[in-house]
Symmetry: C2
Subunit: 342 residues, 2 copies
């Protein structure tokens, strides 16, 4: 079954975005799909909730006194709003680091409104404003806790990145050697793998997956313990939906409106993943061409199939209007999405 998001001008489809998605359970079974469930692409920022787990599992979060807000920010692709900066700063302090230690590059806020306000105030984005500054601060904290150097923490050969790769392999069920690697927008490793495996990691995140021993293709899944590091991540983001994105952002709206029954996380270039803990499902989707404007309506249409009525967000997310330079409504985006059950 094919799924698209169409850009409609007047009554005619002008452009078309193709969507692939995989839905799995925590054991790796493909439950539903559209397009290519095994499409290989980069996980981008959807990896963040997995990348923060070693800090909790290895004991660093407790040892350094890292709180839920800081855990949530480590999972975030945030807007760089004042509270995001404050939490990033406090996480850096607990790691004994400063903004200077961050390896991420600056960029205008992911929120056009925040970016415009900053530009109008003549305020230039700094490293701390990077949507990934929480993830980077958590990487620095992991290095400090283990006594590893903080220099070059973003490089694939650094112990931080080797530890994170192992974690990604465990949760996705993809052997380390088979995980593709590229450089992300913020300068650290980005992981490439099939959508299906991204979905597995989110299904597992939702149920607090715990695995003993070394990660492999099919790690043996133990029953979840009463409280796992994954539970802590879910508790943190659910308690702090603003921190994982920010004002006017879809990830924040989904978490807030669903009371944590749906945790969706944006990647870049048209990727979204979501955990649906109650349904014991994980979702991974990609707009083939990487368009982010099309990704939001596609995600919402997929979630509506998987958890009808669970997410309540404005129509402007589901079917955004296209306006011209006069401000007139000249078209809209229309998601035409279906899932085939396997």
């Amino acid at each position: 079954m094919s799924s698209t998001v169409d850009a409609v001008r007047g009554h005619i489809v002008e452009s078309r975005h193709r969507v692939s998605a995989a839905v799995t359970d925590p054991d790796g079974k493909l439950v539903a799909f559209t397009g290519e469930s095994d499409l290989v692409t980069y996980w981008r920022s959807c990896a963040k909730p997995i990348q923060v787990l070693p800090l909790i599992e290895d004991g660093g979060a407790d040892a350094l006194g890292i709180d839920d807000a800081e855990i949530a920010l480590a999972c975030a692709s945030h807007n760089g709003e004042p509270r995001h900066l404050a939490v990033a700063t406090s996480l850096l302090e607990k790691a004994g680091c400063t903004e200077e230690d961050l390896a991420c590059g600056p960029h205008p806020s992911l929120s056009p409104a925040v970016a415009r306000e900053m530009a109008e105030r003549g305020q230039k984005p700094r490293k701390l404003h990077s949507n990934c500054s929480g993830k980077h601060a958590a990487m620095l904290a992991l290095a400090r806790f283990h006594g590893w150097p903080t220099e070059d923490y973003r490089k694939p050969e650094h112990p931080v990145q080797r530890r994170l790769l192992r974690e990604v392999a465990t949760w996705t069920g993809v052997d380390e050697a088979r995980i593709g690697q590229g450089v992300d927008g913020c300068g650290v490793v980005s992981y490439a793998m099939p959508l299906r495996n991204m979905a597995v990691a989110y299904a597992r995140l939702g149920v607090g997956f715990r695995v003993e021993g070394v990660a492999g293709e099919n790690p043996h899944t133990l029953p979840p313990t009463p409280y796992t590091p994954a539970h802590r991540v879910l508790r943190a983001v659910t308690a702090e939906p603003f921190l994982i994105a920010g004002t006017g952002r879809l990830c924040t709206e989904i978490l807030s409106s669903s009371n944590g029954t749906v945790f969706a996380k944006v990647g870049a270039d048209g990727v979204y993943c979501a955990a649906l803990p109650q349904a014991r499902l994980g979702l991974a989707m990609k707009v083939e061409d990487g368009d982010m404007d099309a990704a939001r309506p596609a995600l919402l249409a997929l979630l509506e199939i998987l958890a009808p009525g669970a997410v309540r967000v404005a129509d402007s997310f589901r079917s955004p209007v296209i306006r011209n330079t006069l401000g007139e409504e000249v078209g809209h985006l229309a998601a035409k999405v279906s899932l085939e059950r396997t």
Copy 2:
């Protein structure tokens, strides 16, 4: 045969843009294609070189003393650089109009560099900066010449737009009633039709096509007269390649480097058309998802097949580099384009 432009990160394709194209001769024969040659989409700014023809044909250009620079600007999707504004102003003056009469909305320059410079100077874009201000000024001139009101010239029912629709039907070979209509980014009518018919118009533009009588599905093509309005358009844009786009823009680079043997014109949302007068061919292409960054490499790859070596532009147009927030090269766009001859 399928054609794509792939966004490659590291060594892995991250996103994919699908490309459709049609190549025809002036009589409407499909000579080559890739993807869907009959894909219906909007012509957007590729219509401009046809939309200026009535001003020349009906005698307005001569009567009002409109020169080649002004004709070129009427065909332009320009950057809003000082010379573009000067020529737009002089065209408005010859029409007895002012910037206030323009119906187009303002927007930041199509050139990121020009847009950045204007923002840094605190200079807000005006109507005159609109990439379409030359087209709008020519529409006002057409209204003045015919004694039509200038008010509401952008509306489909205005005599200006009725005249232009007739011209579009003549050149594309699509009956007026079958041309789809939407509202363009600048507020005037945008035309929807199969790529194949867009290509026909450009093939005809290249050979100075002249037709007698009323336009129909298959207008009878007469041998070109020694000098037609289409010849004047081609002479104007070839003499003034800067005016049709501007600094750092592909349309300008193609015209300059090919000495006018290739006239390519950008539309919006992934559309390009080109006239290759010596080969008596017209080309129309669309990136399915509307991505403009992918459209440039796709166009250049198609032109290289149709006119090997004719266009000399920087590699940054053919295979643009993708950089991260640290300025590092993390990937590139790769056009994989082929044409099937019919």
